[in-house]
């Protein structure tokens, strides 16, 4: 078991969706402002700013790299370092781990982590083409028409083959996430969704249909990480980082030798060991999705389904509102919207929000422990973080 060294003490988020009038920098400023106010801090309390890599606009990303947020938010001559962190969709987990490490090493005291992007406002084909380059080899895969839907489809194909998971079970992941999104005012899609509607939607990339696929969205979210010993003096609702585990399994998806598992079993075992608690203690699973097969792979690897197959577990409603293991209560990328790297940040911020008791209508009762996961590119890596209200 590892010493608890860091805690989340504030969160901020703007709604996800298509907001062509809201620039990336505006969304970033608002999310950071909300996180600083949520922590009860002043901007000058922040000593490290970590902006996540943004994909839609190179110009905006350059601004993030070169400390624009420090200038916009009153942190000039108080912030010591502005440093970009980027591992695609895994950045939620990796950034939290890096912030924890800086804090544990005495190199930082209060770290502001921020993501903003506007991939939802890109023209549709530009969005498809952008995500046909993230973790897709230009030389070896792009010439064959590879793209992000194909990644989710290839993994679903392999996973269904190895586990016997059905199309209905795959669709049930989308339905469960939508049920949660109906309770989330920041979600892009809030209308009810049924398994029949998913299975009646147009086939896009076998076995995936249109409603198995995420929609790109604009969004921004921020959180502040502080020293564990400071946290109870900063806020009444600190969320402690108990343990993190991770494993890189490929760059290009064609090189993964275990596509139906990835590295979640190994990453989960590492995270549980560091936290000193196991799957039986998890009351909330904030699982990175984007396509419905990934939560199933993750639930299996983390042994969260009490010996059942993940597909059967989700189809039985166990991860829906009222179920035994609420999962991704913001609605995930499938329903809150795929804000590029921010899809994972939103999943992590929701874990903090739930553990802080600030999730409103969708608040999970009596919550103490949660598990958060993430993966980048074409699910190149498997990240698992255990978070607790107390330790």
């Amino acid at each position: 078991m590892q010493k608890v060294r860091a805690a989340a003490v504030g969160i901020g988020e703007v709604p996800s969706g298509r907001f062509p009038e809201r620039s990336e920098i505006e969304a970033a400023i608002l999310a950071c402002r909300d996180a600083i106010l949520d922590a009860g801090m002043a901007p000058t309390d922040i000593d490290v700013v970590m902006p996540v890599g943004a994909l839609a606009s190179r110009h905006f990303n350059v601004d993030l790299v070169f400390s624009r947020l420090c200038e916009e938010l009153g942190m000039l001559r108080s912030a010591k370092m502005n440093v970009q962190v980027m591992s695609g969709g895994a950045t939620s987990s990796s950034m939290l781990a890096i912030a924890e490490g800086l804090i544990a090493g005495g190199l930082a005291r209060n770290v502001l982590c921020i993501h903003s992007d506007a991939v939802g406002s890109l023209p549709k084909q530009a969005g498809i083409d952008l995500f046909s380059t993230t973790g897709v080899s230009e030389e070896w895969e792009a010439p064959y028409g590879h793209n992000m839907n194909a990644v989710g489809a290839l993994a679903a194909n392999r996973y269904m083959h190895e586990t016997g998971t059905t199309e209905e079970e795959l669709a049930s992941v989308c339905v469960a996430l939508r049920q949660w999104a109906q309770l989330n005012p920041h979600a892009m899609f809030r209308t009810p969704l049924t398994i029949e509607e998913v299975l009646a939607s147009k086939m896009v990339a076998t076995p995936l249909r249109a409603k198995h696929c995420n929609m790109l969205a604009d969004g921004a979210a921020a959180f502040i990480v502080a020293r564990a010993e400071d946290a109870p003096h900063i806020t009444k609702t600190p969320v402690y980082v108990r343990g993190h585990g991770s494993l890189v399994t490929h760059y290009t998806v064609s090189q993964d030798t275990n596509l139906a598992r990835l590295g979640f079993e190994e990453a989960g075992a590492e995270a549980y060991a560091k936290a000193g608690i196991g799957p039986e203690h998890m009351q909330l699973a904030q699982i990175y999705d984007a396509y419905p097969v990934w939560p199933l792979i993750t639930l299996d690897g983390l042994k969260l389904c009490r010996g059942e197959r993940a597909g059967a577990f989700v189809a039985a409603g166990e991860t829906s509102p009222g179920g035994s293991l609420p999962m991704t209560t913001n609605g995930g990328m499938l329903s809150q919207g795929h804000t590029a790297v921010g899809g994972g940040i939103a999943v992590l911020v929701e874990a903090f929000r739930q553990l802080m008791g600030k999730a409103g209508e969708r608040q999970v009762a009596n919550l103490v422990n949660a598990v958060e996961t993430a993966s980048g590119g074409t699910w190149m890596d498997s990240h698992v973080t255990i978070l607790s209200k107390e330790y």
């Binding site: 792009a142 010439p143 028409g145 590879h146 194909a150 290839l154 083959h161 896009v204 596509l259």
Partner: protein
Amino acid sequence: MTNSSRPLPQPSRWSAGYWEAAAERRFVVQECRSCDRPIMYPKRVCPHCLGDDLGWRASPGKGEIYAVTAQLAGPPTGFADRLPYVVAIIRLDEGVQLMSNIVGDGALEARIGDRVSVGFEDAGGTVLPVFRLDESEVAR
């Protein structure tokens, strides 16, 4: 970009031999002469021993489908007129994996475990290795 912007491989100094062989309708797999292991995709140094005495081994180009998906909508730029097309991860008998298209008879019904053999497709001046289902699979 030509050919309605379909992306084509831009060989690196160490992968050129693969594409030169494909242009001659030959399929090769990179090999490490220090540790004798096959390497896919071609690399500058051997990922097993970090040696750089690398060469090419003629391959029969046979293997089986590890995962497969038929693309029916929403393709990247350059592929709209190719719909439907089939993207697969192929595990070669040498033990290495690569992505390619499954083309020809039965491609849209290709399944995991199906045996496939390499073929070649001219994509506007660049020859791409592609794979076809073996006859026994098509007859299935």
